[in-house]
């Protein structure tokens, strides 16, 4: 074998690091280089004069005739197409190819030149990526479907629990009117506070499910109705269900607040409920609300152990629960929903917690 020269074009074609094919305008092979012959296992006699289609797989043949060939005629080139060439042993060779059409002065086709590179590994990698992607897509769709089903179930359950609860509440009210002894009053008060707690849990669950199913917290804003009475009532109810605990209120709401009053009530109830549950029972829970400088500000503070550092970042996440005894545990949704209500009002809830006191502050812009 002679030593190849650097400018030997014949050798450059024949022993190129890629396969070369030259086709006549009728699609028949005019030349094929040695590299390609080596890869496919054919001899030149077997290929020259045959249609290029003949050494492609069925898919490749169809693809070439209805897509590559027309595009070559239209734009003169077609780069980076994947194609499977049939080897002499009948096995497909996965390749990537570029094609270029040579034309005469009038634009009539003279030949097509093809450069082909083996791409077995690359094609394998691609097809594995695709399979993984397909599997992930299906898996995701399944997860979403299951998740939606679960949340719909929660919503229905929450809804269905309300009726029995309303009955108990009504019954407790009736009993309360007829209660005579202290003991009876105590029991009725406990019933009512328990009912309230359950109602709160169910409301939180429903809000959460609704939020996840895409409804979000919808607001029914009203700028004219006063806010103070609602706050007062919410806190009164909490006082009722937390006997022995002191909850102080201080309001200076000087301008109308354009908000959804019942939602703000819910927010306050969640914050104050938390303060009562987690705060020191020997110190009062303080609630301050005011309007100033274009914002409505509401702060709920309690004494007792500060919130641990690691809990601070997770406070507003759904299902995050602090450490309290089981009978006082909620679902971990109260703060999450409170923050969602704040967000719906274009506001924020922030928290600061020291050994002296823990304060949750809700701020929203006045419209």
């Amino acid at each position: 074998m002679s030593v190849p020269r650097i400018d030997d074009f014949e050798d450059m074609f024949d022993n190129a690091p890629c396969g070369y094919l030259v086709l006549q305008p009728n699609g028949r092979v005019a030349r094929i280089n040695r590299t390609m012959l080596g890869w496919t296992g054919y001899t030149a006699d077997q290929i020259v004069g045959k249609r290029f289609s003949d050494i492609l797989t069925i898919a490749g043949r169809i693809f070439y005739e209805i897509h590559i060939a027309p595009l070559l005629r239209m734009q003169g080139f077609f780069n980076e197409f994947a194609i499977d060439v049939l080897g002499a042993d009948g096995k497909p060779l996965h390749m990537i190819a570029n094609a270029l059409e040579g034309r005469d002065a009038e634009g009539k086709p003279l030949f097509v030149r093809l450069a082909l590179i083996k791409a077995t590994d690359r094609r394998l990698y691609e097809s594995q990526l695709l399979q993984a992607r397909d599997a992930a897509t299906i898996s995701l769709a399944n997860e979403r479907a299951t998740s939606e089903l679960r949340e719909q179930f929660i919503a229905v359950l929450g809804h269905d629990l309300r009726n029995p609860l309303a009955s108990i509440s009504a019954g407790a009210r009736i009993l309360g009117r007829e209660a005579k002894s202290d003991r009876e009053h105590q029991v009725v008060a406990m019933l009512q506070s328990t009912v309230m707690r359950m109602a709160g849990l169910i409301d939180n669950v429903l809000d959460f499910a609704r939020g996840r199913l895409g409804g979000g917290i919808t607001l029914d804003r009203n700028a004219s109705a006063p806010l103070e009475p609602v706050l007062h009532q919410v806190i009164d109810e909490l006082r009722l269900s937390s006997p022995g605990r002191q909850i102080t209120e201080e309001y200076s709401i000087d301008v109308p607040v354009d908000c959804d009053r019942s939602r703000i009530g819910q927010l306050v109830s969640n914050l104050v409920g938390n303060a009562v549950t987690h705060g020191s029972s020997s110190q009062p829970v303080t609630v301050n609300a005011s309007t100033e400088k274009g914002v409505f500000k509401l702060t709920v503070c309690n004494g007792g152990e500060p919130i641990p550092e690691e809990a601070m970042t997770k406070l507003f996440e759904p299902f995050f629960r602090g450490k309290v005894r089981a009978s006082r545990q909620g679902l971990g949704l109260g703060l999450h929903i409170a923050s969602q209500i704040a967000k719906a009002h274009d506001g924020t809830i922030t928290v600061s917690s020291t050994a002296r006191e823990t304060c949750f502050k809700f701020v929203m812009p006045l419209r």
Binding site: I66, R73, Q75
Partner: protein, 272 residues
């Protein structure tokens, strides 16, 4: 506008199928591309008829500049769905006694459209038609059932390979600046998922029974050495359509409208 039957809002047909109307004349000529391409494949043949005909070009839904959002799996599960689109375009443009030029599978779509709306098309030109691609007893379609299955499975398993081919990102060729910006707009774009479905509809189709009912003059243009629609298939189409003529072109391959446009134009002129 609402469709009383399904309640869906009717799509603007011109937008859905990227319809272009050119030329001028008493009669109209509608060009329908086949699988694997879009209306750009008529770029050499269509202009030749603009002086004498109102020419209509469009993209099948899923190809070229058509509205991919309009693709409906159920509707386009048969060639009849595509024929409905053709009829809708014809109605929108008020076509009567027009010429329908269908390449490859669109030749059969034309045969169906002719029957759905008699009078809309007065003449049919079929380029590289095949009534059925899979062999059946004595009938030669050119492919064995297992080969078509191999093709469809290849599309399933290798769809990136196919989609890299079928939806090419055609970059401007830096070596050939004279090719210009236009070519970066990738001719023959098609959505890979829709292409898979269209391939199945096309290659599993059997329109042999529809052909005897085509009662308009039909020109069958057959390429020499067409591996997709071999001569036996073209001859079958010719034999099955009562008022048909058969012309064997010297052109080879499946797209003579691109590889031998002069031959196609000449044959068509003699017919229309």
């Amino acid at each position: 506008m609402t469709d009383g039957v399904s309640g869906k809002i009717e799509m603007n047909v011109t937008a859905r199928n990227n319809v272009r109307v050119r030329g001028s004349g008493d009669r109209a000529m509608m060009f329908a591309h086949g699988f694997g391409c879009d209306q750009n494949m008529w770029r050499i043949v269509e202009p030749a008829f603009e002086p004498d005909f109102r020419t209509v070009l469009f993209d099948q839904v899923g190809a070229g500049g058509s509205d991919l959002g309009a693709y409906d799996k159920t509707k386009y599960a048969t060639l009849g769905g595509y024929a409905d689109d053709v009829v809708e375009i014809g109605r929108e443009l008020g076509l009567k006694d027009a010429v329908f030029v269908g390449h490859s599978v669109s030749a059969m779509i034309g045969a169906l459209a002719v029957q759905k709306e008699p009078g809309m098309f007065g003449k049919l030109v079929m380029i590289g038609p095949s009534a059925k691609y899979i062999n059946d007893g004595d009938y030669v379609g050119g492919f064995g059932a297992s080969q078509i299955e191999e093709l469809l499975q290849f599309l399933e398993a290798n769809h990136m390979g196919w989609s890299a081919q079928m939806a090419p990102m055609i970059m401007g060729n830096a070596d050939r600046p004279e090719l210009g910006e236009e070519l970066t707009n990738s001719f023959c774009r098609t959505d890979p998922e829709i292409a898979k479905a269209f391939a199945r509809v096309t290659f599993m189709s059997d329109n042999r029974a529809d052909l005897p009912k085509v009662d308009v003059p039909t020109l069958v243009l057959q390429c020499s050495e067409d591996v997709i629609a071999p001569q036996a298939a073209g001859e079958f189409v010719h034999r099955s359509i009562p008022k048909s003529q058969f012309v064997l072109l010297e052109a080879t391959g499946h797209c003579p409208n691109l590889s031998a446009p002069d031959e196609v134009i000449t044959a068509m002129r003699a017919f229309v």
